[in-house]
Structures are given as structure tokens and as C-alpha cells.
């Protein structure tokens, strides 16, 4: 279980996170949504240690992990726009990360096969398309079978088949008790997969609950409409203050 308490982060005059508290439970897929610059990516980057929060704490199974690095053994992260060393091949990158962790990439071959990466595995990354790089990013995040998956727009650029397989794989991971947190704008994906919805605006959490509750609260028939309503209400509230 990941517990985030009163997380705060400013970039100059911009408040990216303004007292965010959140509990992400294992065996659930938690979707974080919100407009651009709501603080979603910053929240995810704080979890994996790319961004240092100004205040607050992040704990995994009761152990505070801010400022540490060993806990990242338990995390797989998919970046928003993954780019890699241009001259290396995906296979070299996998070997490098396995050497770095001192373990074998247990799921590497299975995931490469799942996403149909076979011929691309030995080609320099500079020759691979955006979608293929995205698939490689997914493989790199999941190949060590981490307990926690942190994913920032993981399906952007994926073809329908890869997107379908990604969803199936995510369901399997949930069934295995993994803790999954995804930042995304794709409503169809969210409706299909989300066990829990977190709506962020201006660095704060405005809604945290199951998608069905979001539909009830908004009085809307689709999640897309419910979230759009939350954005409008949030923007109006911000304008008023």
C-alpha cells in the first residue's frame, strides 16, 4: 500500500502540489485525471523520486521512502514521453537495467512477445517509432515484476492491438495484487479499467472514490461528462477565489 500525506511542491511561483493526501491500495487500478498542469505528473514523479517534494511524506507499506532510493526496486515507472539512448537497442537497455538491479528481467521476453516487439529488440532505438518506444517503455517498467506500477499516459501512441493487450495485462496484474496508479486522459480506458478515480485540479485532489460515485455525484451518464463537469466546476471555483 502506498500512502501519500500532505505532499507539497512548488516550481517557482507555480504550485504543482498543494497538500495532496492519497492512499493507493494493492489489487486496485487507481486512475489520476485532471486538466493539463493539474499536478498529475508531478505527483507520479514524486512517488518515483524524480521530483523532490517540498513537504509531506510518501510511505510504502508503512515505511517512509522520500529521499531514499532502494524502494525503487519495488516500482516500475512509465514516463509520459519515453526517450532512450539513441544508439542502444532495446535488448542492450534491458541487459543494462538488469545488471544495474543485479537481477534477471523475469518478464522481459514475455512482455516483448505480448507487444510484438520481436524484430525491434535488436534495432537501435533511434530507428524505432514513437509507438514502439512506448511499448519498450512498458516492457522496461514491468520486466522486473514490480509490486507497484506507476504509469504516466502509458497508452499514448499505442496501436489498438497493443492497447488492448496492455489493458488485458493490466487486469492480470491487478488480479495478482499489484498496486497500479495511472495518469491518463483516455476516458474509454478509464471506464474499462479504473477501480478508483482521483480527480486533480491546481495541485489539489477534488474527488477520490470509485467511478460509480463520480457518476452519482455529477448526475451524469458517462465518466467523460462527469469529469468534464468537475473541471468546469473546479475552474469556476478557482476563478471565484
Amino acid at each position: 500500500m502506498v500512502e501519500i500525506r500532505d505532499l507539497r511542491k512548488r516550481f517557482g511561483a507555480l504550485t504543482a502540489l498543494d497538500g495532496v493526501s492519497l492512499t493507493i491500495r494493492p489489487g486496485e487500478i487507481t486512475y489520476v485525471v485532471g486538466p493539463n498542469a493539474a499536478g498529475k505528473s508531478t505527483l507520479l514523479k514524486c512517488m518515483v523520486g524524480l521530483v523532490h517534494p517540498d513537504a509531506g511524506r510518501i510511505a510504502i507499506d508503512g515505511t517512509v521512502v522520500n529521499g531514499g532510493w532502494r524502494y525503487r526496486n519495488r516500482i516500475g515507472y512509465v514516463a509520459q514521453s519515453p526517450r532512450f539512448p539513441e544508439a542502444a537497442s532495446p535488448r542492450e537497455l534491458i541487459t543494462f537495467l538488469a545488471d544495474l538491479r543485479g537481477t534477471s528481467a523475469r518478464n522481459g521476453s514475455h512482455l516483448a512477445e505480448l507487444f510484438g516487439l520481436g524484430p525491434a529488440m535488436n534495432r537501435p532505438l533511434r530507428y524505432l517509432s514513437g509507438g514502439t518506444r512506448q511499448k519498450i517503455s512498458l516492457v522496461l517498467a514491468a520486466m522486473f515484476d514490480p509490486e507497484i506500477l506507476v504509469m504516466d499516459e502509458p497508452t499514448v501512441g499505442l496501436d489498438p492491438l497493443a492497447s488492448r493487450r496492455h489493458k488485458q495485462w493490466l487486469c492480470e496484474e491487478r488480479a495478482r495484487g499489484k498496486t497500479v496508479i495511472v495518469a491518463s486522459h483516455l476516458m474509454a480506458e478509464l471506464e474499462e479499467l479504473a477501480d478508483r478515480l482521483v480527480f486533480m485540479l491546481d495541485g489539489r485532489i477534488y474527488f477520490d472514490g470509485p467511478p460509480s460515485q463520480a457518476l452519482e455525484a455529477g448526475g451524469e451518464r458517462t465518466l467523460e461528462a462527469a469529469i468534464a463537469k468537475m473541471m468546469e466546476e473546479g475552474a469556476a471555483a478557482c476563478a471565484a477565489c
Partner: protein, 261 residues
């Protein structure tokens, strides 16, 4: 240590594929060969190479480290989400670039001397090598430090070029102003102190004191020779250059550790 060596090995392999590092070695080899083949003496060739080393090595080290930092930004993010400390990641990246540039420089410098049948004095060549290696360590660290402190690639590159211009050109102008502004009796100690603040001047001294033409550097070199003597001057210059490298590496590592990616 195992993690640092893994990062170092991977980065070295990536850099070895870069044509830029090979071009850097070829540049020094070509110039060294031309100076040794067509120059009047090996001392003259060493002095000419020295001028080239103190200008080109810092510029190339600064520019390469800034560009390398921004080009590998996303790779760094991939690296930093692994179970690895920021200091280890910094050490691996910094050492890989320093070793690549220093290796290319050493290869480019030594090849023409060996090609010309060991022409020239071995100690002078060694000092030229040491000066270039220390300048590489210092200016790669400075380049990393500048890059880590800003998100803007152009701003970082501009800052790096401004620093190079300051150390290579403007600093001597400042020394001239000091010479004109202060009474003659206070100048020796003052200039001695000021020369320590410019690693380029110190690198020049390393070689010039050996060539026995310290006057070429003007006041600073003559002073080092007069006050410290050649051997002590060399040791002092080496110690201060090493201190420069250490301080900048530590500052770079600190900034890298605190940075948000």
C-alpha cells in the same frame, strides 16, 4: 560501486559510438603531427600545443558536457527511477564523459609524438598530458554544474560559453587592470593569488615552468618561477588544479542530487 561501474560501462559504450569523440582525438593528432613535422623544435611544438590545449580542451569539455546532459535527459530519468542513488548516477555519467574526452585527448596527443619517433622531451609531453586531463576533469564538471542548474539548453550552452570566454580571454584583461591599478610593491602577492583563481592560467604554468619559458605567460608565470621555483611551482599548480576539479565535482554532484527531473 557495482551500480556505478554498470552505469559507467553503459555510458562509455554509448560515447564510444559517438563520432564527436573520434573527431576530437583526430583533431589533436592532426595538429600535433603538423606541429612536430613542420615546427623548428619540439619545445616550440609543445608551447604551440599548450596554447591549443588550454583553449580547446575547456571549450570542448564544456560544450560536450552541456549537450550530453540535455541529449541524455530522458535516459537520465530512466536511470533515476531505478534503485540507484543520485550520487552513483552522477558519478557514472561524469566519469564516462571525462574518461571518453580525456582518452580521446590523450590518444590524439600521444599518437603524433609516437609517430614521429618519440621526438621531444618525455616530461614535457607528460605535463602537457596532465594539464589537458586536469582541464578535462574541471570543465566537464563545470559543464555538468551549469546544465544541472537550468532547464533551458540554450541558456546552459550560453552560460558555458560565457564561462569559457571569461577564463580564456576576460581574465587576462582583468589582470591587466589590476597591474595598472595597484602599486608595484603589492603586485607580486596579488597576482600570485589571482592566478590561482584561473585553472587555464594554472594549466599553462604546469607546462611553461618545465619549458623554462615562464616569461611567455607574463607576470604570473615569472612570479610562480621566482617565488616557488620550478618543482614547487609545478606541485602548487597541480595541487590547486586538483582542488578545482574536486570542488567542482562535489558541487556538481550536490546540484544533481537536489535537482528535480
Amino acid at each position: 560501486m557495482r551500480r556505478m561501474l554498470t552505469v559507467l560501462r553503459f555510458n562509455l559504450r554509448e560515447l564510444a559510438r559517438s563520432r564527436w569523440v573520434a573527431a576530437y582525438a583526430a583533431f589533436f593528432a592532426a595538429v600535433g603531427w603538423a606541429l612536430l613535422s613542420f615546427g623548428e623544435s619540439s619545445d616550440q611544438a609543445a608551447a604551440s600545443l599548450l596554447n591549443l590545449v588550454v583553449l580547446v580542451v575547456p571549450l570542448a569539455s564544456l560544450a560536450t558536457s552541456v549537450l550530453q546532459f540535455y541529449n541524455s535527459r530522458e535516459y537520465v530519468e530512466l536511470l533515476l527511477v531505478q534503485p540507484i542513488s543520485r550520487r552513483t548516477a552522477f558519478a557514472g555519467q561524469y566519469l564516462a564523459l571525462s574518461i571518453s574526452l580525456a582518452g580521446a585527448f590523450a590518444l590524439g596527443l600521444l599518437a603524433p609524438f609516437l609517430w614521429c619517433g618519440g621526438k621531444g622531451e618525455a616530461l614535457t609531453l607528460l605535463l602537457l598530458l596532465v594539464a589537458g586531463l586536469l582541464l578535462t576533469l574541471i570543465f566537464v564538471a563545470l559543464g555538468f554544474l551549469v546544465s544541472v542548474r537550468t532547464d533551458n539548453r540554450l541558456k546552459a550552452l550560453g552560460g558555458a560559453l560565457a564561462l569559457w570566454l571569461f577564463f580564456a580571454v576576460l581574465y587576462d584583461g582583468l589582470l591587466l587592470i589590476v597591474i595598472m591599478a595597484f602599486p608595484t610593491q603589492q603586485l607580486p602577492a596579488l597576482l600570485l593569488g589571482l592566478s590561482v583563481l584561473n585553472p587555464l592560467d594554472l594549466a599553462r604554468l604546469l607546462v611553461l615552468l618545465r619549458l623554462d619559458i615562464a616569461a611567455l605567460l607574463g607576470f604570473t608565470g615569472a612570479l610562480f618561477k621566482e617565488f616557488l621555483g620550478s618543482a614547487r611551482g609545478l606541485a602548487a599548480a597541480l595541487a590547486v588544479l586538483s582542488a578545482w576539479a574536486t570542488a567542482l565535482i562535489l558541487l556538481g554532484a550536490r546540484a544533481y542530487t537536489r535537482r528535480d527531473f
